[in-house]
Amino acid sequence: MLPNLGQLEESILLIVMIVDEAYGVSVAQVYQKKTGNTVSIPAIHTVLKRLEKKGLLRSSMGEATAERGGRRKRLFEATPYGYRVISQLRENRLKLWSLIPKLDLGNG
């Protein structure tokens, strides 16, 4: 059974996989850049924690920087289970896509 993932959750999971150093601010920035939508830091935190709770992400504390007022980052990375889930999701979706008649995927 795949865990139930919302759209925001899915996007953020993907972003964590893309970004080298995934933490609240970096994820928020990438999200904004890639989708054009803004998202608040508290919202990101919520989603990251939720994903971690579902076992798709794991976290550890990173180093501190000056612009953070000397505060450390909580860095996230996807777990193997996270990767498995996301590829499964993709496959399922592709299967559905392929069932749509007269849709030329090549032309987007």
Binding site: V25, Q29, R71
Partner: protein, 908 residues
């Protein structure tokens, strides 16, 4: 350089919002939350300018203001793996095994507490479920009767459980809500004694005196559902001279033969046919009987117009949807309809009430109850007792765990260092507490099982054959409650030690400078005082109950109760009975061991059957007083060894020749002298009283005053009694005053005489003192139950003290060593060490004294004759408690005080 950039006031986030964030945010989360917000702030400041960035910062600080930000730990940080639980169990086991005394005291104490409460709960459950086995129990009510004189209110004293025989039929006639009625009346109101005889085919007769016998309407068997083993309950009593009998009665008369259709003869004259056999009436029935006789034996529609003979239990079965209150509201007009004439003639107001039969056992204490009922007061009292014992056991656990916590400080420190969160530690200790409580639960079940039959004996109730067949176990709530008590108890007592243990600071603990910590001392002191307080109250209570009981047993009752043998008057007799009794009396007095013989309607130890009014001649009738009429012969005073304080006793010549006599000689007792308003016993001599005899008001001349004696238990004040000597047969008892040294021979002689004079009757006798003391059965039972549970409470709290003092002393070993080196004597050390406990105990006494004083005062006021509350009532418990405490504490103290100081100082 960069640092400076971030310190620029214009370019930094709003201070107040930042502070607010720091205030609410858990320390562990500040890094990521504040860090991210700062970082985002600077990025946004570059992008959108500082105003927008500040605005967003404030907004997000507010958005972060949510429960998840207050949590001390990052939610996913604690990942308690199964291995960890295994470790908890292992450590719990090791700890239990390591300090065996501690574990034993804890588990044993808790088990006793739980077992005591189980027993009490079972007892209460049994007591509050009387009569529930009847199918229609919710619809069955008893109609009670109150008779109130002008200016009085209806209370238990003037309300009786019995009613007039016409009430039932009239209720059925008048109210559609009443589906059926049944009357039950004891056979003793028709005859003084009753025997049953069965003659089998060979002419061999079996005769027994039967007491538990009622005359009932046929509907009695259908309204109630007493289970039948033979015959049909619906038709069994629908004919005259039909009876149904209990299984064991059937066995007694017929052995293995089929009882149905057999004929038994009552009092040698009335043949009765057995039409059914019912299962022996269980203990939890408010009415007990062996034989039921059909009401039709008395006649068709018997008593349907008798409105002045309140001796009949009247039960009604209401329609399923009938509201008892609505029916009861119509009773006043019902009473007026039928009883107006009688009420005006006798100047009283009657009232009737519906009483659910299920409530009778615990709440009904009216006149003429079918049997002595239980008391809801006792039930609440026992619940309190159960709570006390449980509390004491729980306090032990808390105390011992907090002292023992010091031993485990290192473990906690180490766990914390390797990363255990506080919540994990709390979880661990709660788990341990739960384990100990579960052990205790198992042990307590074993204990309950072991003492079950003993407990049934103490309570005098045969609740069930085996513990597990109790109906209590079939109720899901009982299991739920049991588990809830154990789990909640475990959490309750585990929480404080867990909280305390988990609060240890690893650095302090691991440095080893922790042994003199005062953590938990004040709570421990409070709990120990509370424990003392409960125990003291219980001890004072027990001493009082014990003293009151022995006071009642030993008090001079005003007659020689130890040497009196009472014989029930024969059931089978003819017109020659008076001569026969005289013959029997003279026959007995010829024996050298027999001093005196008398006949009377009642003997001490029971309520006198006949009650009526009397007033002084020349005064208004409204001045009359209620008193008891006791019919005696001239030998009564001598046989019972009572005293005449004024005038003379009754003589042969004072005999009242017949029911129509208009002028008789009477004796009265001091209580009645007082009630009639005479100052002195001499004043009443030769005065004329007006009393009722049969249907007439007649004159009675007082010839003597009898010294007060206890007719009933010491709970009652002296009854006012009027004595006279009737010339017609009315005896219920023959009482023999005998020397008890050659009892067996004397008894043989009496038996032989009896058979000679009253052939065909079974001799039934008993000792008057036993009969009298029977009244104290409930008190005795109360005393035994109370003593039993108090002992348990004391044992449990001693266990606690024992354990506690052991641990406290362990911590002070070094101190004792140093004191000894410096020259302290053993006595001195003992005093120092016991001092703490003595202080706590004194405090407990100060609080317990007033409370127990008032409780005892209230309890004693239930007894018309009771012990005086003297100082010893309180001093004795103090001495007892101190002795117990000091012995318990000194066991360890002495050991500590005697240890070679070299050893104790060398430690560590």
């Amino acid at each position: 350089m960069a640092e400076e950039k971030y310190k620029d006031a214009k370019m930094s986030p709003p201070r107040w919002a930042d502070r607010f964030l720091e205030w609410y945010c858990a320390a562990g989360l500040l890094d990521e939350i504040q860090g991210d917000l700062y970082e985002a702030f600077y990025i946004r400041a570059e992008q959108y300018g500082s105003r927008r960035a500040k605005w967003l910062f404030v907004k997000e600080v507010l958005l972060f203001f949510r429960p998840s930000s207050f949590e001390k730990n990052y939610p996913n940080n604690i990942q308690t793996v199964p291995d960890m639980y295994k470790n908890y169990f292992k450590i719990a086991y090791r700890n239990l095994a390591k300090s065996k005394v501690f574990s034993l005291i804890n588990i044993f104490g808790l088990a006793i507490g739980l077992a005591a409460s189980f027993l009490i709960v079972q007892y209460i459950h049994f007591e509050s479920n009387y009569d529930r086995f009847h199918e229609n129990i919710d619809r069955i009510h008893r109609v009670t009767l109150s008779m109130v004189r002008p200016g009085e209110v209806a209370i238990a004293k003037n309300t009786s459980a019995v009613n007039h025989p016409a009430v039932g039929p009239a209720l059925l006639e008048d109210f559609p809500q009443v589906e059926a009625f049944a009357r039950a009346v004891t056979q003793t109101i028709f005859i003084n004694a009753s025997s049953m005889t069965y003659e089998d085919g060979t002419g061999k007769a079996t005769t027994f005196n039967e007491e538990r016998m009622y005359i009932v309407d046929p509907s009695f068997l259908t309204i109630f559902s007493f289970p039948f083993v033979a015959g049909n309950a619906e038709t069994a009593l629908t004919e005259p001279q039909a009876i149904v009998i209990s299984e064991s009665t059937a066995k007694k008369y017929f052995g293995t033969e089929d009882p149905i259709g057999k004929v038994m003869v009552s009092n040698g004259e009335l043949p009765l046919t057995v039409r059914g056999v019912f299962k022996d009436i269980p203990e939890n029935s408010h009415i007990q009987f062996d034989i039921l006789i059909s009401f039709l034996t008395l006649g068709e529609k018997w008593g349907y117009d008798t409105w002045i003979w309140p001796e009949f239990y009247t039960y009604v079965l209401l329609a399923p949807d009938a509201a008892p209150q609505l029916l009861e509201e119509q009773f006043p007009s019902f009473v007026d309809r039928y009883m107006t004439d009688i009420m005006t003639e006798h100047k009283f107001q009657a009232g009737m009430h519906l009483q659910p039969v299920a409530d009778i056992h615990l709440t009904s204490h009216y006149q003429k109850e079918a049997r002595v009922n239980g008391s809801s007061k006792l039930m609440s009292f026992l619940s309190i007792l159960a709570a006390f014992i449980l509390f004491i056991a729980w306090i032990n656990y808390v105390n011992l765990s907090t002292v023992k916590a010091l031993d485990r400080a290192r473990e906690v420190g180490l766990r914390k260092v390797v990363g255990a969160a506080r919540s994990q530690l709390i979880g661990q200790f709660l788990l341990e507490s739960l384990l100990i409580n579960l052990f205790a639960l198992l042990l307590s079940l074993v204990m309950v099982w072991l003492v079950w039959s003993f407990f049934q004996k103490v309570t005098g109730k045969e609740m069930s054959e085996s513990l597990w067949s109790l109906p209590l176990w079939q109720e899901p709530w009982s299991w739920g409650t049991m588990i809830a008590v154990v789990v909640i108890g475990a959490l309750l007592v585990g929480l404080y030690p867990a909280w305390m243990l988990s609060s240890f600071r690893p650095i302090k603990v691991l440095k080893g400078s922790f042994h003199h910590s005062s953590t938990g001392i004040s709570l421990r002191k409070a709990l120990v005082s509370f424990q003392f307080f409960l125990t003291i109250i219980l001890i004072i209570g027990t001493v009082t109950v014990y003293k009151q009981l022995s006071f009642m047993r030993d008090r001079d009752l005003g007659y020689a109760k130890d040497q009196l043998l009472a014989i029930r008057s024969p059931a089978i007799f003819d017109s020659t009975i008076t001569q026969r009794i005289t013959h029997f009396k003279t026959g007995l007095s010829r024996h050298s061991s027999i001093r005196n013989v008398t006949t009377s309607t009642n003997i001490p130890g029971e309520t006198i059957f006949s009650r009526n009014n009397v007033y002084r001649k020349g005064e208004d009738k409204s001045m009359d007083v209620v008193c008891f009429y006791l019919w005696v012969d001239p030998d009564f005073i001598g046989t019972f060894d009572m005293n005449i304080v004024a005038g003379r006793g009754l003589q042969e010549g004072d005999m009242v020749p017949s029911f129509d006599s208009k002028y008789i000689k009477i004796m009265i007792n001091e209580a009645l002298v007082d009630k009639l308003g005479y100052k002195d016993n001499q004043d009443v001599l030769n005065e004329i009283m007006i009393l009722r005899l049969g249907m007439n008001e007649i004159k009675g001349e007082v010839i003597g005053v009898v010294k007060n004696y206890h007719q009933r238990s010491l709970q009652q004040a002296y009854d006012p009694i009027l004595f006279y000597y009737p010339g017609w047969d009315s005896w219920k008892y023959l009482t023999v005053n005998l020397r008890t040294d050659q009892l067996e021979q004397t008894m043989d002689y009496i038996e032989q005489q009896y058979q000679q004079v009253f052939p065909g009757n079974a001799l039934e006798y008993f000792f008057v003192d036993d009969y009298f003391d029977r009244q104290y059965e409930a008190d005795q039972r109360f005393g035994s139950i109370f003593t039993m549970f108090t002992t348990l409470a004391i044992v449990v709290s001693c266990l606690g003290l024992f354990g506690l003092s052991a641990f406290v002393l362990k911590q002070r070993t070094k101190e004792i060593g140093i004191r000894k080196v410096l020259g302290a004597s053993i006595v001195h050390i003992l005093r120092i060490l016991s001092q703490d406990f003595v202080k706590l105990m004194s405090l407990a006494f100060l609080i317990a004294l007033p409370i127990s004083y008032f409780t005892i005062e209230r309890w004693l006021s239930n007894y018309a004759f009771h012990i005086e509350m003297d100082i010893w009532l309180f001093v004795l418990p103090i001495v007892l408690m101190s002795a117990i405490t000091l012995i318990t504490v000194s066991f360890h103290t002495l050991k500590a005080a005697l240890t070679d100081p070299v050893k104790s100082i060398q430690q560590e």
